[in-house]
């Protein structure tokens, strides 16, 4: 059997058989799914009911029943009780001590600032979540608006409403008429892939480094390089560990699919009602709230664009950029492992190697909001960041095929160059015991004859 295959086999099997790998493979998707559904559950399945007291001393949004003395909303369309919010009204605010003891969780105080500028204090014992706050805000805003239109402007509210327009955009790429693009939502999907690539490169790149250091500190390396070339040993390790990464990824995709189909059917009813809330409160205008995005993702209306994404292309790109980025960074990590004598010495070299990767991650997060920036264009072609950034960039429909190909070609050329360079550092470094190399020394190694 070819020697490099033997090395790949050993590196692969020794890791895949480890308990930690098996645990991570099964736990990973469960954790991931738990995180996803957890996020939804936090925003949707908060079943607690909030008793909200609205204090309106200036009588702008409430009125008093002359017979019973009860105070109720002036505009009956607003401040309706819901599953989560039960309103009560008062002219007088409750003193803090009494509030603490009392039945209300939240107290809204409509004071002068509220009436003039819309600034409202609310006091709470139990902090109201996003949806409760939105409902309170909408009720208060609409009531105050109606009060101003009717009392101050003396206009007919129905006419005023007809004059009011709210704008919402649908983005349509001129190259692809006839359907809404949903660029930001797609970019978000791209970002999830970017996170995966970032994670995998780091996880498995560091494993390569550890493996090299292990062989060096075990002193087995000289035994092995008397049988195979150092370059073969390095490549065997890099490829073997890369295959472990791919195995883990494929297992995760498979298991995630199973777990999420089970999870989805379980959550199905909740999601349907959750989506309705989303529509009503016009949450989507604010865009990027992740949990909300998840809701949208799963609502029937959103499913359209979800299937518009070219999944084959995305998976293909993911595999390409994972492999390309992994080779590039793993070869650098292998060189670091060879240059040091123990893992504690790696810090000095880790920083400059991981910096561009972290930077790429930040850039791709920012690109969700602004995918056409020059920085996004540059860093999706720049080989040290392209494996992460291009995953977001490629989801934007205006990204040309030419640009993706250019980015790929540059990545391939760079990783080949990096492997060659790392190989030169590696073959000298692995036989240097007992000292940590300086940058100057590494430069000398690169120039040595083999």
């Amino acid at each position: 059997m070819n020697k490099i295959l033997l090395i790949i086999k050993r590196e692969y099997l020794s890791r895949v058989k480890k308990k930690s790998f098996i645990i991570m493979t099964f736990l990973g998707p469960i954790l991931f799914a738990a995180l996803m559904f957890g996020a939804i559950a936090v925003t949707m399945n908060d079943n607690s009911v909030y008793q909200v007291l609205v204090v309106d001393p200036y009588e702008v949004i409430t009125q008093k029943d002359s017979v019973t003395g009860a105070i109720y909303p002036r505009f009956t369309n607003h401040f309706k009780d819901s599953e989560k919010v039960i309103y009560s009204f008062s002219r007088k605010s409750v003193p803090p001590e009494a509030f603490k003891e009392g039945e209300y969780e939240v107290m809204l105080e409509v004071d002068e600032a509220t009436i003039n500028d819309g600034k409202c204090n609310f006091y709470y014992k139990k902090f109201p979540g996003e949806f409760v706050q939105r409902k309170m805000g909408d009720d208060l805003e609409n009531s105050l608006e109606k009060q101003r239109v009717i009392d101050s402007l003396q206009l007919d509210y129905e006419k005023y409403k007809r004059a009011k327009v709210s704008v919402s955009f649908a983005d349509i790429n001129v190259e692809n008429l006839g359907q809404e693009d949903r660029t930001q939502e797609k970019a978000f999907i791209g970002f999830i892939f970017a996170i995966l690539i970032y994670m995998f490169i780091f996880m498995y790149g560091v494993q390569v480094m550890r493996g090299v250091i292990e062989e060096k500190t075990n002193r087995i390396v000289e035994v092995i390089v008397s049988s195979v070339k150092p370059f073969q040993l390095m490549m065997g390790k890099v490829i073997g560990i890369g295959l472990v990464g791919l195995t883990q990824f494929l297992m995760w995709v498979l298991l995630s699919f199973i777990v999420s189909s089970v999870g989805l059917s379980f959550f199905a009813s909740n999601i349907a009602s959750g989506a309705a809330v989303v529509e009503n409160t016009q949450v989507m205008q604010t865009g990027m709230d992740q949990a909300v995005m998840m809701n949208e993702l799963m609502s029937n209306q959103a499913i359209n664009w979800f299937f518009q994404i070219n999944w084959t292309l995305m998976i293909g790109l993911f595999l390409f950029y994972f492999i390309g980025g992994y080779f590039l960074y793993a070869s650098l990590f292998a060189a670091i492992g060879a240059a040091v004598d123990s893992e504690t010495d790696t810090q000095q070299f880790m920083a400059p190697v991981s910096l561009p990767l972290v930077f790429g991650y930040i850039i791709s997060a920012m690109m969700i909001d602004n995918p056409e920036s020059w920085a996004g264009n540059f860093f999706s072609v720049f080989p040290l960041t392209s494996p992460v950034v291009m995953m977001v960039k490629a989801t934007v429909s205006s990204t040309s095929v030419g640009m993706i190909v250019l980015s790929m070609v540059i990545l391939v050329i760079t990783f080949i160059a990096f492997i060659a360079l790392a190989g030169r550092i590696y073959r000298v470094g692995i036989l240097m015991y007992g000292k940590k190399a300086s940058y100057k020394e590494i430069w000398k190694w690169i120039k040595y004859n083999p």
Partner: protein, 310 residues
């Protein structure tokens, strides 16, 4: 006897550091060759070149008359000074892996390993990991992995370090057994006792140069100083009178009933000359030539070399 290994004018530099300066030597088939030298002299560099871990800048290495090439790796076994095994890998699995890297098939590796494990009585370790073994046990396993592919040339760098005397003896016996079956051994060590015991030839490298080489007997001859040790009845005074310009009394020690003298004789003369000069006046008990041991030769050669380079 044919030469299994011939090193011709090999030089190697690392940047400005000269590791080997046109070193030439040859190793006879079926012999034990002692590769000696102080730390950092260039021995490891030479060994790595023979193992094709690095390549020489100049010169050539011939293995059985052929220029060194990758397929020769299967005929060379190497036990490095800095050695070890994968700590978390099972002993058996690990030995098979290393044997496969040396070109053995899996089935053949298992067959030979079974033989060796039984021979060393360590079959019980097969499924243990290296971290479960003591250092000496791990060294045994390491030795087996070095010789398993039945190499024609065995390069052992400090093979006895880490072994207790019993196991060191075991390894030494195995070395001699392999030699008797036709293997050639290059032994690099600082233990001059084992050099005297095992080696047929030696080569001494110092400061990147080969400063001394040849059969152990020849080398010793080269370093002997025509010095003899004679035990006799009589006095030092009586002996002194006999010395003249042909003999030089270097040292005389008085014991209870006899004296012990160290005498250097002029070139061209033999022990016979000395004895016949002494016999007339003194009673000789015993006489022998003082031959330097490898330790003294090592120190002398290195000191001389360093003096000439200063």
């Amino acid at each position: 006897m044919s030469e299994i290994l011939k090193i011709q004018g090999v030089s190697k530099s690392y940047g400005k550091h000269k590791a080997l300066s046109s070193v030439s030597l040859s190793v006879k088939s079926g012999s034990v060759y002692g590769l000696l030298g102080p730390n950092g002299a260039g021995k490891t560099s030479l060994i790595r070149i023979i193992n094709q871990i690095t390549a020489p800048d100049e010169g050539e290495v011939l293995f059985k008359g052929e220029s060194l090439r990758p397929s020769h790796i299967e005929h060379i076994g190497y036990l490095p000074e800095e050695r070890g095994l994968y700590k978390k890998m099972k002993v058996g699995e690990q030995c098979i892996y290393l044997a496969q890297l040396k070109g053995l098939s899996k089935a053949e590796a298992v067959k030979r390993l079974t033989y060796w494990f039984e021979r060393f009585d360590i079959m019980a370790w097969w499924n243990k990991t290296i971290e479960d073994l003591s250092k000496g046990m791990a060294q045994k396993v390491q030795f087996i992995t070095t010789i398993l592919h039945e190499p024609e040339l065995l390069i052992l760098d400090e093979p006895f370090s880490g072994f207790d005397p019993i196991n060191a003896k075991l390894i030494q016996e195995e070395m001699l057994r392999l030699k008797s079956k036709g293997a050639t051994i290059i032994l690099s060590t600082h233990d001059m006792g084992s050099v005297e015991e095992l080696c047929d030839d030696i080569g001494l490298i110092d400061q990147s140069h080969l400063v001394l080489s040849g059969p152990v007997g020849e080398v010793k001859k080269q370093f002997k100083e025509n010095l003899f040790e004679v035990a006799y009845h009589g006095t030092a005074m009586e002996l002194g009178i006999l010395m003249g310009h042909q003999f030089e009394l270097v040292q005389n020690d008085v014991f209870n009933d006899h004296n012990m003298a160290k005498i250097r004789i002029s070139p061209g003369l033999t022990l016979n000359h000395l004895l016949s000069a002494m016999m007339s006046n003194l009673e000789i008990i015993s006489a022998r030539e003082i031959i330097p041991n490898m330790n003294e030769i090592f120190i002398k050669a290195v000191t001389q070399n360093q003096l000439t380079h200063e």
